[in-house]
């Protein structure tokens, strides 16, 4: 009993520690974008796989002596976000909801446009794979199916045994 309780507790804890990571260290890719020569550029940290159902983050370091006003992110599908610069911080981030996409799509372009003070625009593309993770409801399917076979099987065995015993009497 104690063993089963320990396993259940372990599974409960395992299930609750898999929160979404929002740190640079969790991002698999890094891209440096330099607007002008001899200047520090923006550094973008992101995961090249967008898993449907989980929020997707992109983190960016502002360049030194930052004078930009907005930065816009737009996927090929039309999903977009515009972010205003905050000059008081060096690192910022935005997120896209896990429900932004419903179908898988490989190498989707994410167009990033940085707008300067005088309306000057610079941009580049990142390639993102939209991934649809397999549904995790198979456990429930097989659990439910097992109920049918165990119930019918156990009942037939119970009745057969009883029938044999009664016939013998």
């Amino acid at each position: 009993m104690r063993f089963i309780t320990s396993i259940l507790l372990f599974l409960l804890i395992i299930g609750s520690v898999s929160a979404e990571c929002r740190n640079k260290s969790c991002m698999t890719n890094e891209f440096i974008f330099v607007e002008e020569e001899n200047s520090t550029g923006h550094v973008f940290y992101y995961d090249e796989v967008f898993n449907i159902g989980s929020n997707w983050y992109i983190i960016f370091d502002y360049p030194e002596a930052n004078t930009n006003t907005t930065i816009s992110f737009e996927f090929d599908s039309g999903v977009s976000k515009i972010h205003s610069y905050d000059n008081s911080i060096a690192t910022d981030s935005i997120s896209f909801s896990g429900s932004s996409f419903s179908e898988e799509n490989l190498n989707m372009n994410l167009k990033i446009i940085i707008e300067g003070e005088e309306g000057m625009k610079n941009g580049f593309n990142l390639s993102i794979d939209i991934n649809k993770p397999p549904a995790d409801d198979l456990f429930y399917l097989w659990g439910g199916m097992t109920v049918f076979w165990l119930s019918i099987g156990a009942y037939v065995i119970y009745m057969s045994t009883k029938l044999t015993r009664l016939r013998a009497k």
């Binding site: 549904a135 409801d137 198979l138 429930y140 399917l141 049918f148 119930s151 009745m159 009664l166």
Partner: protein, 228 residues
Amino acid sequence: MKYQREVIGFIGFSLVLAALYFALIQTGPAKFFTAPNAQKLFYLHVPSGLITYLAFLMVVGGSIIFLYNGSEYADKLAKSSTELGIVFGFMSLASGTFWMKAEWGGDIVNRFLTDMRLATTLAMWLLYIAYFVYRRQPDTLQVKKNSAILGLSGMLMVPLSYLSSRFLRSHHPVIVGTEDQGSLDPSLRFGLYLGLFGFLLIFIFLFRMRMEIENLERDIFKSKMERL
């Protein structure tokens, strides 16, 4: 035919296997569901629920006839159907719980207390558990009469459970007799009918087996009483 009962059971089992093949292999994961794989439980969950209602209605019918003319056969029918209703009811409730957990999530106990379809079906099932336990004692006339009166409660419980998702607070989907019935995909209906006929034949197989047990038990009980 010597093996008629076994043949019925075999055909029923084959139909259920065909329903499973149809649900799990021929059709892909269901669209428009949070849990597209667990939705496959639909093909056996609904038939087991309908067979449960059938079994408990047979208890009601048997109880009425027994109280009307004291028919021994009606009493045996009611007693045997109760046991089968409990087995199929368990399948329906347990499979529904798995599906509900995958599709709706949340606290299962809370759902059974607040969703009227779930609450009334569980209450109906527990009521017939009480009937089953009561009948574990020797079949005297008084026990049969009391059981028949208890069995009659299905007259209220079966319609209450079936109609609860239409008129009371419930998330349980309603399809039969509503506008959604026409929107059921024909392939979905095919799989559902396979499961339904399969379970119906398995029910007949089990029912006949249970009736034979009942006959043997009564014969043994009668001969024991005669010896005394």
